[in-house]
Amino acid sequence: MSRLGHVSPGLRSRAARAMAVRAGQGRFVLQVCAGCSVATYPPRDRCPQCWGELRWADQPHTAVLLAETTVRATTDNFYREHLPWRIGTVQLDAGPTAVAHLHSDVAVGDQVRMRLVLDRGGNPAMFALPLKETPHMQDDPQLRVFTSAPKHRRVLVTDGRTKLGQEVAYALLEAGASTVFLGNSDRLLRYDGEDQIASTPHVDVVPLDLTDNRSVSELGGLLGGRVDIIVNTAGYVRPGGVSVGSRLATLQTAMDVNASGLMRLAQAFCPAMGARSDDGVNSASAFVDINFVYAMTGNAGFAGFSASAAARQSLIAGLRGEMTSVGIRVASVLCGPIDDEWHQAVPLPKVAPSRIAKAVVQALQDGLEEAYVGDIAEDLAKRWRQDPLLTMREENL
């Protein structure tokens, strides 16, 4: 029988949750006191030195490993299944000391590279990696607990008819995925790149149309128990406004593919994935959704599509809650206009499908919950963090 996907307790302080958000973005942050400028760890509500206000700030992610120990017994259901487990104390270059999970290639006295990771229950934790890449570094069993590395895993890519879906499939194989199940929504109509992708070793083209309940549930029945990662590359993009320049039927199709499609996918696959979140080397691990960054703001010229992206982003937030409770990472890879036929009128810069594919693999390898790809998305995210309402206004007026 599969090992149950135990997760660590999720009851954490608001400060710890704030740290989790940043960990999910791949940032290495600590709270720094606005009064005395001292960085502190673990997360707190006030500065332990001067009672001052704490603010999150990116920090140098280097440290020295001071001491280590191996845990051989625990009452925690999750770690009981993963013993023995190495942890250690690190002296962060940013100031504080911290207890960290250890990569097998680090030893006491080493300079280490720190990463803020999320555990299977979505809690932030420190992880100490070798300063420089070591052979098969990604295969470390303790590291794999915190990441969703595609290596050895079977991945479902939902739409392989597009350049994006095909690039994602190639990138996953390059990263060591054992099989890519590649969705094809219409087996009667050919598509660009079909011959090459269909004849690629370890690619298995499967019928999947996210707008068709039956198609999704049938594939869920076939693959639900053996898909370790889902990358949702399906999307329906059309230009158009709200009051002018668009048709309701276009909006409805966008909603059907982008929002309802995600829901169908989640219902058909996620319960089975959740049951396998701690199932050995190729455990079920992550659900990645490639979405449009204008989900956060709306966008003049793509209003309907942005609305469907916003609905999709909202569903992803809900799914993250459900899946974190069973140990599956849910990630959003948000991009700006893709360099495709539906963005011909959009000025550069546009993001290449191959770049998005790389970001998907990176997000999986780093165990992220959120990644922004390309100049447009990165810029928007930066502005949005500073002033969300201003950013909405900038994108629409």
Binding site: L189, D212, N213, R247, T253
Partner: protein
């Protein structure tokens, strides 16, 4: 008083006894059934979709039912004159207004299956029809002209829509054939097994899309995505094809069947 002598009761008796044969000409409405594909910048025909509301479960313990969505031209369907710009100003040109008597009509089957099998782009011409009449007899008035292509046997394969780099490839009539059938044979409509009454490449014909243009411009109808036309006799079948009564509708999926003498 018994009414067994009425025409209607005689027909019922013939159906019951098997003297009248009934053949289904309808493809099953399923999410897999292909719809016509237009260039991407145009609005696209919605395929058939079904979402279960309840199936003897917590949403309805004793009953099973589905919400369905589709286009008016999805699956085996009826084209009303208003479907085409040429028929937009005709009276009674939508499915709710078409006289109900037009939903029951005789059919003549023109078998072009050999030609279509040899050439997917086979074009039905006036000359072909005149030659056909010389061999089979005159096409009677107010008949469905049913084009047997055996295309229905391709359903479920890429060869049904038969898309190539330059578009779809399937047989259909040219303008001369349509003018002949509509004006000189007064057909009630054209009934085909392909996804449209026009040939796959008919947007390149001159004039383009002659079947749609000429049929609907003259108040005639189209039936598409039929099956089993090879089961019908050349003459003597009656087609029942009653579209849904959609207010102002341009067409409708429907159940089509044919009745004909068993011998």
């Amino acid at each position: 008083m018994s009414n067994s002598g009425s025409l209607c009761m005689q027909m019922v008796a013939a159906l019951v006894s098997g003297k009248l044969k009934c053949v289904d000409l309808t493809n099953t409405l399923s999410p897999d059934f292909p719809v016509i594909v237009l260039p991407a910048e145009f609005g696209q025909c919605a395929p058939f979709r079904v979402e279960t509301l309840s199936r003897y479960d917590e949403n309805g313990p004793a009953w099973y039912w589905n919400n369905i969505t589709m286009n008016e031209h999805t699956g085996t369907h009826f084209d009303a004159p208003a479907h085409w710009v040429t028929g937009k100003d005709l009276p009674d040109n939508t499915v709710d207004a078409v006289p109900v008597s037009d939903f029951v009509a005789p059919a003549v089957v023109v078998d072009i299956s050999a030609e279509a099998g040899a050439d997917a782009d086979f074009v039905l011409t006036r000359a072909y029809l005149e030659d056909w009449e010389a061999r089979n007899g005159k096409i009677p008035t107010r008949h469905w002209v049913a084009l047997r292509t055996d295309w229905y046997k391709r359903v479920g394969t890429p060869d049904y829509l038969n898309f190539k780099k330059d578009g779809a490839h399937s047989p259909g009539p040219d303008a001369g054939a349509m003018e002949f059938l509509v004006h000189e044979r007064d057909c009630i409509g054209l009934a085909v097994e392909t996804v449209g009454t026009d040939a796959g490449q008919a947007s390149h014909f001159n004039p383009p899309l002659p079947a749609h243009s000429i049929l609907h411009g003259n108040g005639r109808y189209g039936l598409q995505c039929l099956t089993n036309l090879d089961k019908l006799p050349t003459f003597g079948a009656m087609i029942v094809a009653a579209p849904l009564k959609i207010e102002g509708g341009s067409g409708s999926p429907l159940r089509v069947f044919a009745l004909f003498d068993a011998e």
